[in-house]
């Protein structure tokens, strides 16, 4: 890509519209609303066509004009373009005609969609001349910041709740980050990071770099549309923690429509939560946009955000698109992880189990219809949350053919082999 011109006009408040110059700030000083990047879409439209995109490498940076960096990406250069899998066996099990899995369980380098947002945030941290980076995280973001910081030479300060899955802790520590468990839940960790960012010059990707960071999630949506042959799906089901991803996929589809890259985007957005932490789903079901915070209690720890910062916007996207939100029990989450694994060979973490279980529920409710083109967003890898699966104990056998036949049964083998 030789195109290094900037398409950013500045930042502006999403609530009151007050403009700000491009800087590592995230909040409107007038109303405390979130700041967002203001792009020059007319200029982008002249450059970004289906053909220019198709000619570029298969990474998230093929949509670079719609990402908030000034020059070439410095971090996460290989990230993105994960598979969109046509899930025929799962579709049959669920009773829908056309079902796809957008599979960020295999995201490079840290096996979750957080690699997309971190690639943008750390590239931006470099442009802003930060010398250290950090984040508040429920695990996946910690993994991604630690991996990408190691690869780009940033020291990283990563704060996590002190009850995270062991694999997420190891998957952060191994990269040499300063990993700090905090006695409290994610919302406590988050508050502390905001206070640290107020005192020290550290690029906290989801605090002071938040307007830039969140934009990386749009590529999840761009890729879905491009992989569907420049069409948007009828329905997309997305896990919700802070509620940002669902709003960014919506923004991504809307931008593609605005640029004429897809027909008018009329996708219905469905949000998935665990019943043990369902503040956004509860608001949708109550017919309000306002979020009542909850104290999380669920195995889906990556979704355990009791006071979702983007909840107000997530409920807005869901309602205005004609979608809905549901929540499911821990048992349903585990069952769905196994269903996805056994039907499609994809091992998703608890957030993925949540999303698929909610998809099943929405189909049963008739909200998602049999002839809808449906995309299920799988955002993280099951190897990170193995602890939730209690699988049957295995019996070992002697290394003898007769022992194998005695265990499996000769008739079963003959049937499978014929």
């Amino acid at each position: 890509m030789s195109n290094t011109r900037s398409y950013i006009k500045g930042l502006k408040c999403r609530e009151c519209g007050h403009p700000y110059p491009v800087a590592p700030v995230a909040i409107c000083e007038e109303c405390f609303g979130p700041l967002e990047v203001d792009y020059d879409y007319d200029a982008i439209k002249e450059t970004l066509t289906r053909d220019t995109i198709a000619a570029r490498p298969k990474t998230m940076w093929r949509y670079r004009e719609l990402l908030p960096i000034e020059g070439e990406p410095a971090v996460g250069v290989q990230t993105g373009c994960t598979p969109l899998v046509r899930a025929e066996r799962l579709a049959k099990a669920l009773g829908v005609r056309e079902l796809y899995i957008k599979n960020d369980a295999v995201s490079h380098p840290s096996l979750s969609f957080k690699d997309r947002v971190v690639a943008v945030a750390l590239s931006k941290a470099r442009e802003f001349n930060f010398e250290a980076v950090g984040c508040a995280s429920t695990g996946n973001l910690a993994n991604s910041v630690a991996a990408n910081a190691a690869a780009s030479g940033f020291p990283a300060y990563i704060l996590i709740p002190d009850n995270l899955e062991k694999s997420k802790v190891i998957g952060t520590q191994v990269f040499g980050a300063n990993l700090i468990p905090v006695r409290g839940n994610y919302d406590d960790v988050n508050r502390l990071c905001s206070e640290i960012a107020g005192r020290y010059r550290i690029a906290f990707v989801n605090v002071n770099l938040r307007p830039f960071y969140g934009e990386g999630s749009k590529t999840f949506g761009y890729e879905i549309a491009e992989q569907l042959g420049w069409r948007t799906p009828d329905a997309v089901v997305v896990p919700m923690a802070g509620g940002s991803l669902i709003t960014k996929i919506h923004k991504g589809f809307s931008e593609l429509a605005r640029l004429g890259l897809v027909e008018a985007a009329e996708t219905r957005f469905y949000g998935a939560q665990a019943t043990g932490c369902n503040p956004i789903a509860a608001a949708v079901k109550a017919g309000t946009r306002d979020i009542r915070p909850v104290k999380p209690n669920t195995i889906a720890k990556s979704l355990a955000i009791g006071n979702p910062a983007d909840g107000y916007f997530a409920t807005g996207v869901i309602a205005s698109s004609g979608g809905w939100s549901e929540d499911v029990s821990d048992a349903e989450i585990v069952a769905a992880i196994r269903l996805l694994a056994e039907a499609e060979g994809i091992f998703a973490e608890t957030a993925g189990g949540t999303t698929l279980a909610v998809t099943q529920k929405l189909i049963a409710q008739g909200r998602i219809k049999a002839d809808d083109r449906v995309v299920v967003a799988i955002t993280g890898n099951g190897l990170k949350t193995q602890e939730v699966l209690a699988l049957e104990d295995l019996k070992s056998i002697e290394p003898k053919l007769s022992a194998f036949e005695a265990l499996v049964g000769a008739t079963q083998i003959a049937a499978a082999g014929s």
């Binding site: 109303c31 609303g33 994610y186 508050r191 960012a197 955000i305 006071n307």
Partner: protein, 93 residues
């Protein structure tokens, strides 16, 4: 009896860049009143015209979100730490 209020970056232009302010009050609402008398204009950034806490602001008394307590009527103990935190972060699926 005195409490400490942690002022977030976007509000420090009201406090001459001071990060923490010592106050005395029985409730969060009273403490906001004290902040207003010392730093005129600050309360309008915290609360809507009707007096309710603004949507994108979280206030914590010793780490507890006042939306779980009695909102602006939340009682504030001696030596409590009151954090005013913009609802910016999150999104860590």
């Amino acid at each position: 009896m005195a409490q400490t209020v942690i002022i977030p970056t976007p509000l420090r232009k009201f406090t001459n860049e001071i990060e923490t302010v010592e106050v005395e009050g029985a409730t969060v609402g009273e403490i906001f009143g004290q902040l207003e008398s010392r730093f005129p204009g600050i309360r309008a950034r915290l609360c809507e015209e009707g007096g309710e806490l603004r949507r994108f602001i979280n206030v914590y008394v010793d780490g507890e979100d006042i939306r779980f307590l009695d909102r602006l009527d939340t009682a504030v103990g001696e030596k409590a730490e009151i954090s005013i935190v913009p609802a910016i972060a999150g999104g860590s699926e």
